[in-house]
């Protein structure tokens, strides 16, 4: 399928976690690549939400159900267990209240799938140690005073939050910058040092 080739590797990994014919909400759906893929290849009832009106217009123009909305404020409108999966890719670090967003995701969905850039990566640690300045990498590429990533966290931080809030990690992966799988999945410590992104499948314990 033509849509498949263009899809970001991390979206393909997310799609791999989703069972066919399920109900999915993709928060930060952008132009709808994931929801289109899920509808075409897995017959999912997939819908999108995005803060950016241009992205939503693009998704709707492609015939995909998407609406403009804010993860921080608009998830409260959905009923409990409205979805089988609620997806939040590369956005958790940019929301106002990540903990509350996660709580809402697991209220309106049975599963939450979350990906975020890993702030524990060795290059970031090195830069901070050696230069004493806020690190800048290809992922963390905006200076501290204008970055939208206001809540950076590491893979270990995220494990700790899941523990505190009682979420069961059903599956997790570390992915490098290009989105390819890295071999650290057995060791949380190594993943936290070498993984560019963390990808988690959660459910309420």
């Amino acid at each position: 399928m033509s849509g498949n080739k263009k899809m970001r590797v991390d979206l393909a990994l997310i799609a791999g976690m989703i069972a066919p014919k399920t109900r999915v909400l993709d928060i930060g759906c952008s132009d709808g690549a994931l929801i289109e893929h899920l509808f075409r290849t897995k017959q999912c009832d997939a819908r999108g939400l995005d803060l950016d009106m241009g992205a939503v217009t693009q998704a709707v123009t492609r015939g995909l159900p998407a609406m403009q909305g804010d993860a921080d404020t608009d998830l409260t409108a959905y009923p409990d267990n409205a979805f089988d999966y609620v997806v939040l890719s590369r956005t958790l670090q940019a929301v106002e209240q990540p903990r509350e967003v996660l709580r809402q995701m697991l209220r309106i969905g049975t599963h939450a799938i979350v990906s975020f850039p890993n702030f524990g990566h060795w290059t970031l640690r090195m830069q901070l140690l050696l230069t004493g300045r806020a690190p800048m990498t290809s992922t963390w590429n905006r200076p501290w005073y204008e970055t939208p990533n206001i809540h950076p966290c590491s893979i270990s931080d995220f494990f700790a939050l899941c523990e505190t809030d009682g979420y069961k990690v059903e599956e997790w992966l570390a992915v490098d910058e290009a989105g390819a799988l890295t071999p650290w999945r057995r060791s949380q410590m190594l993943a936290n040092l070498f993984g560019g992104q963390g990808l988690f499948l959660l459910r309420k314990a």
């Binding site: 709707v60 015939g63 609406m67 403009q68 608009d74 409108a77 009923p79």
Partner: protein
């Protein structure tokens, strides 16, 4: 009937239902006539029909020259061959609303108790839901069990919402554009100015102006002028007119007129030639009465509980008559019942009227939404 009117009025295609219609107010219309136009071809399964609902002063001539005004159809940008509502693919129906003055039963139709005279001010109050029930009769008459889509802007959007709430199984997709789930106090207030202007016109004669061979032109024109201001944004008026003067380079005498004044007067005077004052009173009241939440125990979401209909809500950023907040309220209500809803705000400085104008983002997303829905509905 008024003979001069009978001579100049074109014939409108219509169907009459001799069993009449029971209205929300409890009264019964003994007969019901619905005037309508169709475009495109109904397919073998009768599943490709789209109903277009018109706004307060619109009519059924959505995609063709209007026989009364001689102007192009009011939504030719949206409805037609190759347009977002593509008449090469879909069978498109548009009906004049109940209470209107373009052939459907309304205040200028023969009085049930005295057919020699029109209803005039005696015409019973109707609601948006009544208008939709009249349209449902037409759809049944055309042999259509389920509409593929109901699309409408402003008051047409209210009808689309009413369709989705009253007949959820008969609507595959609904597109309420630039509309609201209830008419706000501000909206009612503007309507009331218009109604007062009509009622205060000496030619109104307590609604029996037809008996005196006159029409309350002044009042109706002022009503239209007031309403027209609410349809445009301050930015659009500034862009179009600014403080430019009519026939003068600079303000030389206090008698000089601004361009915006003559524009508004033109809007008013062209309107009175095509619209009936009693219809204006009836339809503005129907809009004021609209409150979907109140009809469902005060909870808007209840209107759509269990709905399988796919929704597209569209608002326009500079629309202050039906602001984006109203569409967002509907989107949230639809989320509350986990309905399939798309929602977007089109950035435009053209105000409420934007839904009728050249807005490529709106047209593209409407076309894409309908194409996507057609795939889900199994339409080729």
């Amino acid at each position: 009937m008024d003979q001069s009117a009978a001579q100049t009025e074109p014939q409108h295609d219509s169907v009459t239902f001799p069993e009449g219609l029971t209205l929300d107010c409890g009264r019964q219309l003994q007969t019901l006539t619905v005037a309508y136009r169709c475009y495109g071809t109904l397919n073998a399964t009768r599943r490709n029909a789209i109903l277009i609902c018109h706004a307060l002063t619109g009519d059924q001539y959505v995609a063709e020259r209007n026989p009364v005004t001689g102007k192009p159809g009011w939504w030719e940008r949206v409805v037609g061959p190759g347009r977002p509502v593509d008449t090469d693919k879909f069978f498109v129906i548009c009906a004049n609303v109940l209470g209107g003055c373009m052939g459907s039963t309304g205040p200028s139709s023969p009085h049930d108790d005295n057919p020699a005279e029109p209803w005039g001010k005696d015409f019973p109050p109707v609601t948006i839901h009544d208008m939709v029930r009249a349209q449902k009769r037409l759809i049944d008459h055309l042999g259509i069990e389920k509409l593929f889509a109901v699309v409408g802007g402003s008051m047409g959007g209210m009808q689309a919402l009413s369709w989705a709430a009253q007949y959820p199984d008969a609507v595959f997709a609904a597109v309420p554009v630039a509309t609201a789930p209830y008419h706000s106090a501000q909206n009612i207030a503007f309507h009331e100015i218009g109604r007062q202007a009509i009622a205060g016109d000496p030619n109104f004669h307590a609604g029996r102006y037809w008996a005196h061979g006159v029409t309350p032109e002044r009042g109706l024109a002022v009503a239209r002028m007031t309403a027209h201001i609410t349809y445009v944004s301050e930015a659009a008026l500034t862009r179009k007119f600014g403080r430019k003067l009519q026939d003068a380079a600079e303000l030389s005498s206090l008698g000089d007129r601004f361009e915006v004044e003559s524009y508004l007067q033109y809007q008013g005077s062209s309107f009175v030639r095509r619209f009936d004052a009693n219809s204006y009173l009836t339809i503005t009241r129907a809009m004021d009465l609209f409150d979907l939440a109140a009809d469902h125990g005060g909870v808007l979401a209840n209107a759509f509980a269990g709905s399988k209909t796919r929704f597209l809500l569209v608002s326009f950023s500079s629309d202050w008559l039906f602001p984006t907040a109203q569409s967002r309220l509907m989107a949230r209500a639809l989320n509350h019942v986990a309905a399939n809803v798309s929602f977007l705000e089109v950035i435009s400085d053209k105000g409420h009227d934007a839904f009728l104008l050249d807005e490529p983002d709106f047209h593209r997303s409407l076309g894409g939404f309908l194409t996507g829905c057609a795939e889900h509905a199994g339409l080729k």
